[in-house]
């Protein structure tokens, strides 16, 4: 469960560059909600995710995750409750560490780190089993440095690492945007499997309206720091890309003549 109450966030407040990034956001996700988030550039999608993850503190409002009020918690403290996958595949893993070292780092998310071995013998078997699910053959490459993997492989590994310790909430910030279409599709399917299989409460930002409609049980559209649309259940199931675009342009106060081009 995750709850945001009256979240307000400005950037560069008081200067000429002032940006009103989040304008009184109220949001409650229930256990197991898989929410897709769309909105144009600058709508506040990433800001929202960063705010939840603790990348910065909101100017006002409160954030609750599970039973905790995490509003004042720094990023590393919130990590015990949150797993993240970034848009840039290079951000989720450590290139000069091996696959097993990366997984070991992730398997300690939110726990105290001490002088025990970083990679324990008993973990290896588990890592191998987890990696088999990816079907990329990584289970035979535990000692390879992650820097040797492709962007898609690294993002798949990051998805897996995010869920080694079950998070209260999984944040996906356009995590397939930097991948080629085929790989993106694979990672998206993997995401679906993991989120459904482990019943994770998830927020997924996407620029792809089909993905926004096709995945998850709830859809948020952000615009200028506000929640413009919050659809779930039947409403979301019956939604078409056309409906969504209509909302989108209505919000922007403009009509594009070539919608059909964008749809393909």
């Amino acid at each position: 469960m995750i709850k945001l109450e009256n979240i307000v966030k400005y950037f560069h407040k008081g200067s000429v560059n002032e940006v009103f990034a989040l304008n009184d956001i109220n949001l409650k996700l229930d256990e197991g909600d898989f929410v897709t988030v769309i909105g144009s550039n600058g709508a506040g999608k990433s800001t929202l995710l960063n705010c939840i993850a603790g990348g910065f503190f909101p100017d006002s409002g409160r954030i609750f995750i599970g039973a905790h009020d995490v509003t004042g918690w720094p990023e590393h403290q919130r990590a015990a409750l949150i797993a993240r996958v970034f848009q840039n595949p290079l951000l989720g893993t450590c290139p000069s560490a091996t696959i097993e070292q990366n997984m070991a780092l992730a398997s300690l998310r939110g726990q105290r780190r001490g002088l025990a071995r970083g990679v324990k013998a008993k973990d290896r078997e588990r890592f191998r089993e987890e990696l088999k699910q990816l079907g990329l053959g990584l289970e035979n490459r535990l000692l390879d440095k992650v820097g040797l993997l492709s962007g898609g492989q690294r993002q798949a590994l990051t998805m897996l690492m995010a869920t080694l310790v079950k998070p209260e909430v999984l944040l996906l910030d356009e995590h397939i945007a930097a991948l080629d279409p085929k790989t993106a599709g694979q990672i998206l399917n993997l995401t679906q499997e993991i989120v459904k299989g482990r019943k994770l409460t998830t927020l997924m930002i996407t620029h792809n309206m089909k993905h926004a409609i096709g995945f998850g049980n709830r859809l948020l559209m952000l615009h200028q720091g506000r929640v413009l649309l919050d659809l779930r259940g039947k409403e979301k199931e019956n939604l078409t890309v056309k409906d969504l675009l209509a909302h989108f342009y209505q919000a922007q106060g403009e009509e594009l003549a070539m919608d059909s081009l964008l749809l393909n």
């Binding site: 720094p74 951000l91 450590c94 070991a104 300690l108 998310r109």
Partner: protein, 295 residues
């Protein structure tokens, strides 16, 4: 080069190798260029020398030096992480402050260690000939520190240090406070540098406030030579290469200083020029090798 000179160079390489391990930790692993070492090397020397002349056991004085160096590193890292001062600048500030502090500790610019027991006397008492005492002691310390750092980098904390240098955003999102990790890492690095300084002082029989000048350059030169000559494929290999790089660096300098070309000879004051040429050589060799092979 005489055997005696070679022996001296290897000795120097080993004792400064401990410093180079510290430099490798900050410069390569934490990605934190740290000039504090120019101050923490003489800091370790001063602390150890004052402790010994006050009657403390020379081995215990090494622990004090280690702690002093750690504290100096902590100051630099706190300035950087908590107060957002650029790492280079923060380390320069600590370095110049240490110059004054070292003179305070010694109550003067230098202090002699004549007629007092050092870690070398304990070894000669066991029957090791005096001319090999340095080699034995430094070799033992270098191996011990190497073993420790390789073990430490394999622990959960060590892995967090590695990840902090590599991808701070990722490791924060995995629940690690990167500030604490940087403070710990830079502290440990300077602790090792100070230990190295303390051993040097006990060997040469004096601590001097000026003995730290150029430490970072020698450290970087050794790191780069080590990487070029011995490789850095794994963590253990990289640290061993750093220490061996330090030995090669000291040998190369001893060779250059002993060089005679007709009437030309290098002066000790040419040391900086030689170092610069060595580092440039180490930096461009891999590149040249590649081009030659491509041909």
């Amino acid at each position: 080069m005489t055997l005696y000179a070679a022996l001296g160079a290897v000795e120097q390489g080993l004792v400064y190798g401990i410093m180079v391990i510290g430099v490798y930790l900050t410069f390569r692993i934490l990605d934190f260029p740290d000039l504090t070492v120019d101050g923490s090397l003489p800091l370790g020397a001063s602390i150890s020398a004052v402790a010994i002349t006050s009657g403390l056991n020379p081995y215990l004085s090494l622990l004090l030096a280690l702690a002093g160096g750690f504290a100096a590193g902590v100051v630099t890292a706190v300035l950087n992480t908590k107060f957002k001062i650029l790492h280079l600048l923060a380390s320069i500030l600590t370095m110049i402050a240490l110059y004054s502090i070292n003179i305070r500790i010694m109550a003067g610019p230098n202090i002699a260690l004549l007629g007092v027991d050092t870690v070398f006397d304990a070894v000669t008492r066991f029957g090791v000939p005096a001319q090999y005492a340095g080699l034995v002691v430094f070799g033992a310390f270098a191996v011990f520190v190497l073993g420790f750092i390789i073990w430490f980098m394999g622990t959960e904390i060590g892995q967090a240090i590695l990840a902090t240098g590599d991808n701070p955003q990722m490791i924060r999102s995995l629940g690690v406070n990167t500030h604490v990790v940087i403070i710990l890492g830079v502290g440990l690095s300077n602790g090792l540098v100070a230990l190295s300084g303390a051993l040097v002082a006990q060997n040469q029989g004096a601590a001097d406030v000026g003995m730290g000048i150029g430490t970072i350059v020698a450290g970087l030169a050794s790191v780069i030579i080590g990487e070029t000559v011995f490789g850095c494929q794994t963590m253990a290999r990289a640290f061993i290469a750093a220490v061996l790089g330090s030995v090669v660096y000291r040998l190369a300098i001893a060779l250059a200083l002993g060089l005679e070309l007709g009437h030309f000879r290098f002066n000790p004051s040419d040391l900086n020029l030689i170092t610069a040429i060595l580092v440039i050589g180490a930096l461009i060799t891999p590149n040249l090798k590649k081009r030659l092979i491509a041909r």
